[in-house]
């Protein structure tokens, strides 16, 4: 076939390009190599403060249910299996296998040593300035299986 044409409108497809996980992993690795681990955390905090500003406002307004909605939506989109339990004071989620890590492993992309910071630091930064705190209880670097917990800080 000498000549081929492909025309697409945005509405023809669903927006889901999982290779982006590999690009982000490379970004994290690059910062780590050039500026160290603390710089990776600094970058992720900058990203959360800028992009997730509306979500952070929602957490302050609606509490942990805003995070519950966020995670349910994210893992549904990415096709990840997770179990979630939410109360007013605690949100606990167990992710069977991280869809990002799964995709990278399947496609031969290197998973950055600090890739788990996209869970740990991002969760902590989401809680920053709210009545809640985040804790990464378990993270398996092989498949990204994780147990994540958000809880109400004790009033001082």
């Amino acid at each position: 076939m000498a000549r081929e044409i492909m025309r697409r409108k945005a509405s023809d497809n669903v927006y889901l390009h999982k290779d982006f996980h590999g690009a982000l992993s490379n970004g994290i690795q690059f910062i780590h190599e050039k500026y160290g681990a603390e710089a990776v955390r600094e970058y992720l905090c900058q990203f959360v403060a800028a992009y997730y500003a509306p979500l952070k406002s929602e957490i302050k307004r609606r509490g942990l249910v805003a995070l519950k909605d966020h995670f349910e939506n994210m893992y549904r989109l990415e096709g990840g299996i997770m179990r979630l339990a939410c109360s007013e004071d605690e949100l606990r989620l167990e992710v069977e296998a991280c869809p990002a890590v799964t995709h990278m492993r399947q496609h031969g992309h290197k998973v950055a040593e600090l890739f788990y910071e996209t869970t740990k630091t991002v969760n902590e930064a989401l809680c920053d300035g709210s009545p809640f705190a985040a804790e990464l209880i378990r993270y398996d670097e092989g498949d990204g299986h994780s147990i994540q917990r958000f809880y109400r800080r004790e009033k001082s």
Binding site: A2, K34, A50, Y51, M74, V122, G144
Partner: protein
């Protein structure tokens, strides 16, 4: 985890972070790093199939990115044209009211892809003069022997 649907703002903020650390030169260094370490799929397809390999690569990625585009492959002429009516990345960044894109955001395409294709005998040109409206067009030509 950061969803792949949230990657574009993370990418733009990464450029801002690197620019703050080491200026535009550090951003360009990252683009070169990403091109060398991440675009093996495009490199392999283009090395094996030439222009058609580029067609195969972008046929998948642009559909997954839900781009609004036309792509035209003319094998006899040795040309692959692309016309992006609404870039899914820049378009997405422009939609956000609460954050601004890295000013030279669109230059990453030129840096990443040219670096892969040029050594394979493929000349990559992109016109970014309308990138502020999330539009661009470009051509990849088989270089004359």
């Amino acid at each position: 985890m950061i969803s792949c649907t949230d990657f574009i703002p993370a990418y733009s903020e990464l450029f801002k972070f690197l620019d703050k650390q080491g200026g535009k030169a550090k951003v360009v260094e990252f683009w070169n790093y990403l091109s060398d370490n991440f675009l093996g799929n495009l490199r392999d397809l283009a090395a094996q199939h030439g222009l058609r390999g580029c067609w195969m690569y972008w046929s998948r990625t642009l559909n997954e990115e839900a781009a609004d585009f036309t792509m035209e492959l003319d094998d006899e002429k040795g040309e692959l044209l692309f016309h992006m009516r609404r870039c899914p990345s820049k378009g997405r960044l422009l939609e956000f009211k609460h954050m601004t894109p890295y000013p030279d955001y669109c230059e990453h395409c030129d840096a990443l892809y040219r670096r892969v294709l040029d050594p394979l005998g493929l000349d990559y040109r992109i016109d970014l003069s309308h990138c502020a409206e999330a539009r661009c067009e470009g051509v990849i030509r088989r270089k004359k022997q």
